[in-house]
Amino acid sequence: MKVLNQLPKKAVAILPLIAVFILVGVVASRTTPVGAQQDPKQTRIESLTKKLQDAIADVQKNGEFTTDRHGEKVYAGETATRMEQLHKEVSEEINELQARPAAERAVTVNALNQWNDSFLYKVSGQPRQNVRYIRQVGGIQNFKKDGVEVYVSEDYAYQVDVATNKVLDAYIRPKEVGEPKEFMDMTPRYDSAQLEQMAKDVIASQNLGVDLDKLTLEKGQKIGTYFFTWQGENGKSLQVAFTQGGQLIGYTNAGFFDNL
């Protein structure tokens, strides 16, 4: 309060008003205006979420629990099955409510099939990939981007700019327990220099209007996997990854969105 006493009297008198305005503003921003009609989709999402919340509250009292290998208390028996199923149903319905129409997504699936034809299947035995929609997403590796959707196939995950149907990100996807292991051609067929040239070719084919010579190349390697990352200004990057057998296992455009 010493600080207040040092301020001019007029300033002190105004401070409460400012505080009240801030308070009113914050409250107003969190309140639906009287008479405003809520989006029916949002109403449905809230209803579905409430259904799940009620089920969670119920099983906390009446459900069957066990302690897992980590010592965490988790659902067991019929409770586990029922709650997993309910979550799946609710999640899928919410996801569908938020998605673009299926016909529009089908166009993107076609674009992804063409992309796969161009950049995958270069190695013998790589299975054909069947692409399906997963969800919308708001950014690519630390870069905000509106209008991006996630798709997956048997072995890959993709992120696509739906305005242009250009692939911004494609990588070997994680696997649920019980799924077949992803195909990875680890035949020692190419060296780093050859794979670097193949990576440059992949980027050139994306028609991004980027001059790789003006970016900084960082090379990475794990066990039989090679990574080529071109770093630009402000953290932008282009990354291409291959197995030593020449299978494309990653392509990421993080931030080079100007010429999509």
């Binding site: 309060m1 009297k9 002190v12 008198a13 401070l15 409460p16 505080a19 009240v20 801030i22 308070l23 409250v27 799940l52 919340q53 969670i56 980590h70 965490e72 208390k73 988790v74 659902y75 409770t79 709650m83 997993e84 979550h87 609710v90 999640s91 919410i94 996801n95 938020q98 997963i134 969800r135 919308q136 708001g138 950014g139 590796q141 630390n142 870069f143 905000k144 509106d146 995950a157 990588y171 070997i172 996807r173 994680p174 696997k175 649920e176 327990v177 799924e179 292991k181 990875m184 990475g220 794990k222 066990i223 039989g224 996997t225 990574f227 990352t229 953290g235 990354q239 990854a241 990653g250």
Partner: protein
Amino acid sequence: MRNFSKFVLSLAMVAVIGLLGAKGVFAFNERTIICSGGSYFDKYGPSQYWYEHSGYGWCNKTSPGWCENGQCSDQSPYNGVSRSMWKTYSGCSLSNYARWNMGNIAQWSYWYTFVPNGYSTTTAAPFSITYNGGSTYNFTINQNAYNNRWISLPTTSNYYQVMNTWLDDDTCESPSTQIGFDETEICKEANSSSAYCPGSHNP
């Protein structure tokens, strides 16, 4: 009049702080990165099998990056070394494992983990997340296929009330196979997508 003004001012400030706090500004937020060097990360198993490496992972890539409560900062008190990640080696029975406390927030979230460019060569890192009040989702991540990037879940979309993320060491690969432990993140579903996610904590 002056005392009344001070009273109103104090009351308003308390109310504003309370509202912001309820939204999670000071704890878990809509985009929450849980750092492997912080107090929301717990390691289990014999300490001699845990190895910390400086200059790797999300914190190093963004230099300094952002994690909950500043644990990603260059000289974090939670880390033995700066901008670090952890690793352990593969075994055939559970020995070393770790937990990221994801906050148990009552919201729909997308999940991500960051795979560094080193010390992470397992082709089947056994992850699990707990959610929905007690459900478990098990999946594996081929860390050998990634280099300094965020990775999401296999095929599924959003998860409600994510509680914990677990990563184990019993991949039963070659004993020299490394399992990397770096940051995880949840992003709140908002208006069909989570802006600035994964990675950034802006705006």
